[in-house]
Symmetry: C2
Subunit: 239 residues, 2 copies
């Protein structure tokens, strides 16, 4: 019996694994900038914004800040990045619209088709640091067929804290060993495995645009390594 | 402007409002009894089991018992009802299967079609006392198109405690006034309204089989009163 046989639900990292956050932020930024006559390097803008992602969560993880959901962290980071890029005088509604670009991220081309196949065999849940409202809006726009929106906000703990993984498994009524995390990031999978989860690494070489992504040059011993969600469906026997 | 114009999400009571718990438990019980040669009045069995529902949650609400999810409360109640009905000697796997009859409840005939229309206009979330695993299993079997599985377990508070409603609204990123509760029970709607929710009463006259259900003889001032989910879709302008 393979360790995969015990799996009863698939849980997914979302940013970078299911959706192309960088390409989508550049698309959103360019449309935003065109409409307002702003000259901005939106690739750099996206990288700078995302660069504040881990530090902003770390303040919550360590207890230096109280629980704050990702929409609110994104907004605090956005205010800083706007200032860094010399963008001033935007209306509150404009800044809010830009902040919600994270609600309008596009899936990788294989994501919906792969999830649709995987869902015939397994319940699919988010295990993301994104907040529920963000993930619901994203799923409705992109057509992502989730069975449940779980993860950091529901657990009140950001990955890679164990509580994020363990609460998600418990809400699914499963032992960690019955859950698989699907992710494009080694650190996330290593943390999930430490909690008992099964692991599926999916290569997303374009996540960071021109910068290199996790491409898994060495063997990390994950249960599955897949080229995309269709390959994952093949490897998990999901017709 | 009508109070309904501000609504940005629909939240649903599930047992009795979306699914026919009593008819489904009788169906499950009869199949279970036939396979094991048990002579049981499954209508009375269902009523007795459901009769322990509020008392079991009340122990959690008052703090007399720690947080316990509905699958676990159902199981404690089931053990008592099996004894009351003189049913002995079942295997653990059989009792667990019977307990999960709550995962296999059938929707009312209009539910999926009505939700499918409503979902084009609003995100749809559970606001049920059922636990996440129960609601996910039910939705997958019955084809209920939820955008999010929220409610008591995620809030760690059983309705009608305000925390159940307020946490659900907060996770949706909305003010209570932007949420509508759809329910077949006056007490649930009154509690939701007390938290600021908009309210839609849906008549489910067959919920209790031969016993009378809430049929709303008097005017409670709910924002919408509907005959079923298709009528609700009409009244909310959801094509």
């Amino acid at each position: 019996m393979s360790p995969i046989d015990a799996v009863r639900a698939l849980t997914f990292d979302v940013f970078g694994t299911v959706v192309d956050w960088r390409g989508s932020l550049v698309r959103e930024g360019e449309a935003f900038g065109r409409a307002r006559g702003l000259a901005v390097d939106w690739g750099r803008f996206a990288d700078d914004w995302r660069g504040l992602y881990q530090p902003s969560m770390e303040r919550v993880r360590t207890g230096a800040a109280p629980w704050t959901n990702l929409d609110a962290l994104h907004r605090m980071s956005l205010d800083r990045v706007l200032a860094q890029h010399g963008i001033k005088g935007l209306e509150e509604a404009d800044i809010d619209h830009l902040n919600r670009a994270w609600h309008r991220l596009d899936p990788w081309p294989d994501a919906v088709a792969g999830m649709t196949r995987l869902r015939l065999r397994y319940p699919l849940a988010t295990l993301s640091n994104g907040n529920v409202a963000l993930l619901v809006a994203m799923a409705r726009r992109a057509g992502l067929p989730w069975d449940a929106i779980l993860g950091a906000e529901v657990a009140q703990a950001y990955k890679p804290l164990p509580k994020a993984y363990l609460t998600t498994a418990a809400l699914l009524g499963l032992a960690p060993e019955q859950c698989m995390l699907v992710a494009a990031h080694v650190s996330d999978l290593v943390a999930a495995r430490g909690c008992g989860f099964r692991t599926a690494f999916v290569r997303r070489p374009r996540e960071y645009g021109p910068r290199p992504a996790d491409v898994l040059p060495q063997d990390h011993g994950f249960d599955v390594v897949a080229e995309d969600f269709l390959d994952l469906a093949d490897k998990l026997g999901a017709a």
